[in-house]
């Protein structure tokens, strides 16, 4: 089975429960992104057919909402909060430090496909500002100085995981 067929078959399975429900396009997109990490074009084709929604509308919805990704992000997703509380407690400095350390911009993946950097608005733990979440792990009261050490930690974690495989 080709990669495309795999994606399409899996997507079709996910859509069963959304087919009969009103206004379920966004929910279906959430489910697809949850499974693949992004919304692949191949999946969009299936969604269009199954939910009877034009491709153009799917694309317009995907690009309207910040949450959806059209490209596969890196394995390690770094979400830096730039909500107000984090902002006034030093998030801009943390963002710059990550950009410099990884040599990527916002919404980009490093050349080795390992790190994906995104800036988010408020993660709801303002007491820990500034906050960075990396693959579900939270780093509270983050500083620019700690950035190289955190990146190193994740490089090692991923290297260990690769070996394990």
């Amino acid at each position: 089975m080709t990669e495309k067929e795999k994606i399409q078959e899996e997507t079709k399975k996910m859509l069963v429960k959304w087919k009969s429900k009103r206004g379920s396009l966004i929910m279906a997109l959430h489910e697809v992104q949850g499974a693949f990490g992004y919304v692949p074009w191949d999946a969009m084709e299936v969604i269009s057919k199954e939910l009877d929604v034009p491709m153009a509308r799917i694309y317009s919805v995907l690009t309207f909402y910040n949450f959806f990704k059209l490209k596969a992000p890196g394995k390690v997703i770094i979400s830096i909060c730039d909500g107000t509380a984090c902002h006034i407690k030093g998030a801009p400095g943390v963002i710059e430090a990550f950009k410099k350390e990884l040599n990527v911009g916002e919404g980009e993946t490093t050349a080795d496909g390992l790190f994906f950097l995104q800036i988010v608005r408020c993660l709801g733990c303002c007491g820990l500002a500034p906050v960075v979440v990396i693959n579900g792990k939270t780093y509270g009261k983050m500083t620019a100085d700690r950035v190289p050490e955190v990146i190193k930690e994740w490089r090692e974690t991923m290297a260990a995981e690769n070996k394990g495989e």
Partner: protein
Amino acid sequence: MVELSQDQIEKLKALGRTQKETLIKLGEQFKEDIKKYKAFIYTCNATSCHSGGASGVIDAFNEALATAGLTDEVRMVCTGCMGLCASGPLARVEIQGRKPFLYQHMTPELAKKIVQEHIVPALKQGTDVTANLPEELKKNELSLDLPFFTKQRKIVLRLLGHSDPENLGEYIANGGYQGLMKALTMKPEEVLDIISRSGLRGRGGAGFPTGRKWSMLAASPLVDGEKFMVCNGDEGDPGAYMDSCILGGGSHAVLEGMLIGAYATGATSGWFYIRAEYPLAIQRMELAIKQAKRYGILGRNIFGSDFSFMADIRYGAGAFVCGEETALLASVEGNRGTPHPRPPYPTQKGLFQKPTAINNVETLANIAPIIVNGPEWFSEVGTETSKGTKVFALTGKVKHSGLVEVPMGTTVGTMVEDIGGGTSSGKPFKAVQTGGPSGGVIPASEFGLPLCYEELKKIGSMMGSGGMIVMDADDSMVEIAKFYLGFTVDESCGKCAPCRIGGYQMLQLMKKIAAGEGTKADVAKIKEIGEAMKKASLCGLGQTAPNPVLSTMKFFKSEYDALLKDGNEPDEKTPEAPKPAACSVNTK
């Protein structure tokens, strides 16, 4: 929409009126079950404490209790938000007959020590051991007599931090679903009347009277046999997390509020629209709906009445504009979240073109207590026009950053100085921002201002959903205004020109000023654009986007002046109007 299976419907019919009794029994069973416990450990596992490592603390408590052989004597509870997020993870120890004792900055090691040196001796000796605690534990005590705790009044947050949000029996034992049961014994009009008389206004920010909104929905006839309730849980305001905590720690209370509203208005089904960035809130609401279906709280003929209702969840996808009601409805329908002009109002033509009432999470959480305790009980709290309490997320440069609920009319000063405990830096306060990107600043000189809808609007800010960001002497107000404007420009949906173009141009001028390149003419231009945006934008996002800029310009003019190239020049020095040169322009 969720449909019940035939099998489920039959089961419900067979159960008939006993559904209500089953539920009451569930609560009684819970009370019976906890009688065996001599002590309780409540650990906060809301987003902030969880991020700070609460899971490890909970595991350590459980392990230490098992080692000490106390699992049958001590109840371990993972709760919703306890409030003082800056000191998290938090854990409260309650030993029968003793004063509750709160620990801050919890670690797994500390949890073990607490079991060994606080709980075990207390249960063995049967005396108050808190005076003789080892230094290690004592230094992590957080006094419950702090103004942070004593100056609050909790209606919405009543059960958060005191109960297990996943335990329906516990909710029932604490008076849960009493509001719905009581409402179902009344006529829908009577319920509407109680909500109207309570003076409850929308907690999402605009403050529209809830009773009036519901009456409007009640007056709209069903379309194709349908009418809807929608709960707005799209808390996109950066620096605000009240709804996240209310949904995560008290999902049943919000569901109960929606059910009462549906009964009063004749709505047939409901949707909870929750930010996808709040996985815990979504998970808890999904669980609440599942439990409610199982016990016949949702479904056909609820508690044996003629009232039937179903609810489902829709996720947001990261668009601030979806907090605006018409944009939110577009999003629930699965479309781009762009607003449309009102009228028609959603109560006439809303979701799928059918009558719909949209209520904020906190608004719905207030409903059941009002029904149970009566409208007078609620309207006694607050000011003349703003009744009840309001939940705020107090954050920024304040010592006791966290989630607080205070009576309406509490002054800004009480909030930041008493409850907040002063600035975290020790430097003087400069201002407080309320209403997020739609609001404005309250300078330190105005800290006597009572927190209520009218007063905040008068000063150029707004109540907003409850974000309250504290700024100290180090913060540049121009920078803050630029930050907020950058946010709204980013989040503008682009549908109407005043917001799309006005916001962008205003931001360019703000950047110019912040870089020290601005002039007085730029300031004047910003004000002009701001006024135009306020008047001409299609929805609340564009209408309020200029607020942070205009409000900082009003109260912190000197900060802007200091950055202007011609800021120190007196006003008279504006260049003379050019003399009209006769026919110097191409008139040919």
